[in-house]
Subunit: 334 residues, 2 copies
């Protein structure tokens, strides 16, 4: 579940996605409405595929907020009003009669890229999700590291300049206030209003988004490229901090704005090279997500497989895995 | 081994320190001179205590540089010229005929405080060593986290202000350039030269150190207190970044300058409260090291006990632990 979209995938035990769907979605409508909507879309997908929910082994769920994994809920989620403390996992387990896992979406992005993408083989890595907000998921010793209360990875709120612009979190000079989607859109509006020659002047200023800037940059619009590169520098300064603190083997840039590709990663790499200590800088790969927009979805798949296996072992059904694959294969339209 | 002192402790298997010694030491003299000196002091201590080196089970060693644990050496250590790539652990194991562990001193500080100090019971914590440089040791999932190449925890080089003062690492606006011992001493010199009324004017400006400022602050000197509090604010901004990224259960402030106590921790706490996201800020304890200057020494003791047990198990000597305690008790002067 994202802020504005819900993506659901049906996968087998080899993590092959056999069916996938994406729908507009408003996480601000709260748990009752959203979980009912998620259920409806899941059942639609299953019906289309001709299988019954009882044939599923487990569901992996991701949300854009800090998750307390053991409790299966989010705590003080900034962009999920009404969800604070709601028993998401228990509620879905009850409704679906299946084991459910709940994780933060950036954490799942890190897991997805680690298992099937740009982070394969790394022991420690960070996945940076660049969207309207900027968050990180961390893999430490080959596992999701969520921190003490599930709110690790808030790289967007590292102070870059203590006298910098005001951030949505209430502080000044956070990285997100320089380089998040909102900040990029704001700079684009200022650019257009300044009367400079830019592709962006074709779009009504009030509608301008970071995605528009990314698109224009890809089409060769120099002022848009400058905005993206400047954002990359600020993201890079914060990543340099993360690299100095955490000495990861890889930093993987994902999320919507990251789709702009080389332009962003090049300026990120430059800032990290300039601002990290040599030992850590030389041992870190900085790269774009290999799974594109699918990083978190693949992470949710990994989690679903993990809990399905765990559940099967717990129930002493050593053949459940095979059974499920057989079920799914039987159910597959040929 | 520190930059300017070597501390050696003799401990039993309950981590009780039975003998302890501290000597001036210059790590810049390189591995040959320093390791010979360490050996000499160790043998002196053992002679004084009336036991033979063969009666020891293991030695835990700490150094002020980034350690690659598996290799038992430091890599690109900024304040250990001549040590880069020298096989410290192997060389000591050969000389002493004992299993030796090698770790970074801030990592050992974190381990010491976690096992016997202010961090007991925490799953994840950071130990901040405030001295001429400022580094952090991290405990993640109840283990030292050294990062991919042993250089995690470099909190002193987080960018606080990208246009700030030049740091020893070559970048601008690092936290250490605002709040490290050198920066504090520099501010003290400027203070005295400004002619302001301060206890520090009794000391020749060229000799002024951060310790002098800490002492004067403890004696109630307001301008010195202001310098310490300002340093605390910058340290706090960087710790807020660490808290946002790692969501630890505790942050423990140690090292020489930290001995000034409440004044420093109060301003650190204030900055962290202001600049961390609520969920992480509310779940973190910020406190002073409980073991004072002994945090790293206790961490080295933990490591020595760990490898002694590991070694005993490897050699299939299940009674070694008891044997050693018996030996040590026999050797103890009564």
């Amino acid at each position: 579940m994202g802020a504005s979209h819900i993506n659901i995938a049906l996968a087998d035990f080899s993590a092959k996605i056999v069916e996938e769907t994406s729908h507009p979605f408003d996480i601000k409508q709260g748990p009752q409405v959203c979980l009912a909507e998620a259920s409806r879309i899941l059942h639609e997908l299953l019906n289309h595929y001709g299988i019954n929910i009882a044939q599923l082994m487990a569901v992996g769920v991701g949300v854009p907020g800090p998750v307390v994994t053991d409790a299966g809920m989010v705590v003080s989620p900034p962009i999920m009003p009404g969800w604070d403390g709601f028993p998401i996992r228990k509620s879905l387990e009850k409704e679906w009669g299946l084991p459910v896992s709940l994780n933060n979406d950036a954490d799942l992005g890190a897991l997805g890229e680690w298992a099937y993408g740009a982070g394969r083989g790394e022991k420690n890595l960070a996945f940076i999700k660049v969207g309207s907000g900027i968050g990180a998921g961390l893999i430490i010793n080959q596992q999701i590291y969520g921190g003490t209360t599930g709110s690790a990875g808030e790289i967007g709120h590292l102070t870059i300049d203590e006298n910098g612009p005001l951030c949505s979190c209430g502080n000044r000079g956070c990285m997100e206030a320089f380089a998040g989607g909102h900040a990029i859109a704001l700079q684009a509006r200022k650019l257009v209003e300044s009367g400079k020659r830019t592709l962006l002047s074709n779009i009504p200023t009030e509608n301008l988004t970071a995605e528009d800037v990314a698109k224009a940059a890809r089409r060769g619009d120099l002022p848009s490229q400058e905005i993206i590169m400047r954002a990359g520098t600020f993201i890079g300064i914060a990543i340099a901090g993360l690299v100095n603190l955490f000495n990861p083997g890889a930093v993987i840039i994902g999320g919507g704005v990251a789709q702009v590709g080389d332009l962003l990663t090049t300026s990120i790499r430059k800032a990290v090279r300039e601002r990290s200590l040599r030992a850590s800088e030389q041992s870190v790969r900085i790269t774009t997500a290999m799974l594109g927009q699918r990083s978190s979805l693949m992470g949710a798949t990994v989690q679903a497989i993990n809990i399905a296996i765990h559940d099967a072992v717990e129930r002493k059904k050593p053949d459940s895995k095979t059974e499920f694959s057989a079920k799914l294969n039987q159910a597959a339209p040929t």
